[in-house]
Subunit: 261 residues, 2 copies
DNA sequence: GCAACTATTAGTCCTGTCGACCAATACAGC
DNA sequence: GCTGTATTGGTCGACAGGACTAATAGTTGC
C-alpha cells in the first residue's frame, strides 16, 4: 500500500503538515531516515567488513550493515559517530566519511526509509559487541560480499559495493591509507594496505623511495619494530607526515605486469 | 519546538508508526526528504550556478538551489532528474551525480528535513522558467556565492561550496570536463573548461599533444568551427572519445608559475 | 588584393618521475 | 657461524610533461 496520503501529526494531534502555510501537505510525505555505517578494516591481510545479524523485522536473521535511525537533534555525522561508537566502542581515530544516500522505493518493505551511508575505516577492532537490536556481529571478507557469497538485507549489498569502490578510489587521492595503520607503522605494513585493496604488488624499494623523500609523507621515529614472522631485518617505525592531508603518494598501477595476484 | 513525540498517520487516521511491530515508534521520527540540484554551467568563460528566488516560506524572497520533496514512489535519482527537468527543461545529456546528504538539525526551521544534494553539469541552459514555487530564476557566478556576496537560504551556501569542490576534484579524475561542452567542440573550448574551473592557464600546444594521442580522448570529426571573435585559424572540431569513461587526460597543475590569474 | 593579426598546430629540448632491477645490509633462528 | 628473510640503498632507462619556438592557415581591416 502506498503512503501517498499521509499526514504528519505531533503528540497533541495537531496536523503539522497542513498547518504549515505555503506547504502542500501531500508534497512532503514522511520518511524514516537511517544512518548505516560500513565499518572496514584490514584483518590478516584481507579487507573485511563488520556485519550484524538482524534480530528484528524486517530481514530478521539476515546479515546487514550496522545502522539506526537518525534523531532530529543530531547531525548526520553525529548519528554516524554514535552508531560506530555503539557498535565497536571506537570513537575517534576512525576515518568517517559520508558515502551517499539511498532511497529507492521499497528498499524497506515497511515504510519509506532513506538511509545515509557512511564509511568508517579502522585500524583494529576491539571486542565486537552486538547492539541491542542485533543477534550477532562479526567481520566478513569483503570479497564474499562482493561476489554474492553472503547476501545482505535491504540494499546493503550495493552499499558495501559502493564503499569498496570508494576506498579504492580514495586510496589514490587522499590520505585514506594511513587510517588502516596504527600511530606508528613500518613501510611494509603501509604497503600491504595498498596491495590488499588494489590487489597489486608494489616494489618495496620504490615504495620507500617515494615516501621517504623530502616531502612529508612519513616521519621516521628512530625506533624499530620486531622483525617479521620468518626473521629478517627489523624494520624502521614511521608515523604519518603532514603531506597526507592534501594528497596521496602513490597512484594505482594501471597496466602492471607484476600486479596480477 | 522539538518534534520528538511525533507519530505518523495515514489518511485513515491509523497510526502507522506504532502499528508496525518490532519498531519503537519514538525511534523513527518522521523527516521530510528533499532533493536539491546544483545546476552548474559555463557562461561567458565563468562558472555559474542556477539559483531560484523562493516564493514561499521559509526563506521567502531569498536565493536558493532549486529542489523539492522526494516522492515515495520515485528513486532519489529520479527525483533529481525530475527537478532538473522542471527547472530547466533539460532531460538527458546532463551529468547528474549525487553530492551527499545534509541533515543538520534546524536547517529547515519548520520541520525535520534531510536533503540529498545533486550536481548537474550542463553545457548550455535554454530558457530558464521559474518553477511554480519560485519567484525568479537566474544564473549567478559561483564566485559570488563562494565569497558570500550572495547569501542563500537554508544551508545551500555550503552545498554550493561542496559542489564546486567536487567539480574541481572530479575534473581531475573523471570525464566531467566533457559535460561542459557540446557534442562537438574545439580544443580551445575544452581547454577553457579546465582554465575556468581550476583558475590556471594551460599551454595550448601541450594540451593538444596530450589529447590528440593514440589514446581515445578526442576524435577528429574533420570539420572546422568558425574562427574566434578576432579572426584566426578556424579550429578543428572534435567529439569525445571513449577514454573519458575511465579517467581524465590532464591533472591539475600543482605549483604552476604561469597559472596565477 | 595586401598587410596585419590571431589562434591553431607542429616540433624540440629538457627535466623530473617512476618502474624494474641489482646489491648490500641487518637481524632471527638453527 | 651459517642460512634465510626482509629491509634498505643505488643505478639505469623509458616516458610523460612543462616551457618554448616556429610554422601554418585562416580572418579582418584597409
Amino acid at each position: 500500500m502506498p503512503l501517498d496520503l499521509v499526514e504528519v501529526t505531533n503528540s497533541d494531534g495537531e496536523v503539522r503538515g497542513t498547518s504549515a502555510p505555503g506547504y502542500d501537505p501531500a508534497a512532503y510525505p514522511p520518511f524514516g531516515v537511517t544512518v548505516d555505517v560500513v565499518i572496514v578494516t584490514l584483518d590478516a591481510g584481507e579487507l573485511k567488513v563488520l556485519l550484524v545479524r538482524r534480530g528484528e523485522q524486517p530481514f530478521a536473521g539476515e546479515w546487514a550493515v550496522p545502522g539506526g535511525f537518525k534523531q532530529p537533534t543530531e547531525t548526520l555525522d553525529d548519528a554516524a559517530r554514535r552508531e560506530l561508537q555503539e557498535e565497536t566502542g571506537v570513537d575517534a581515530e576512525a576515518l568517517l566519511v559520508q558515502l551517499g544516500a539511498y532511497g529507492d522505493p521499497g528498499r524497506d518493505p515497511r515504510m519509506n526509509v532513506v538511509t545515509v551511508a557512511y564509511l568508517a575505516v579502522l585500524r583494529e577492532l576491539g571486542d565486537i559487541v552486538p547492539g541491542s537490536d542485533a543477534a550477532d556481529a562479526s567481520l566478513h571478507p569483503v570479497a564474499d560480499v562482493i561476489r554474492g557469497r553472503v547476501s545482505l538485507a535491504f540494499d546493503h549489498e550495493r552499499i558495501v559495493r559502493d564503499a569498496i569502490e570508494r576506498i579504492r578510489r580514495d586510496l589514490e587521492t587522499t590520505g585514506l591509507a594511513t587510517a588502516f595503520v596504527g600511530p606508528t607503522f613500518t613501510l611494509s605494513e603501509l604497503r600491504a594496505v595498498y596491495e590488499a585493496i588494489w590487489q597489486v604488488e608494489l616494489d618495496g624499494a620504490n615504495f620507500r623511495r617515494k615516501l621517504v623523500g623530502e616531502d612529508g609523507w612519513v616521519v621516521a621515529t628512530g625506533k624499530r619494530s620486531a622483525p617479521a614472522s620468518e626473521g629478517g631485518k627489523p624494520p624502521e617505525l614511521f608515523r604519518v607526515g603532514s603531506a597526507w592531508k592534501s594528497g596521496a603518494p602513490i597512484r594505482r598501477p594501471r597496466r602492471s605486469a607484476r600486479g596480477l595476484r
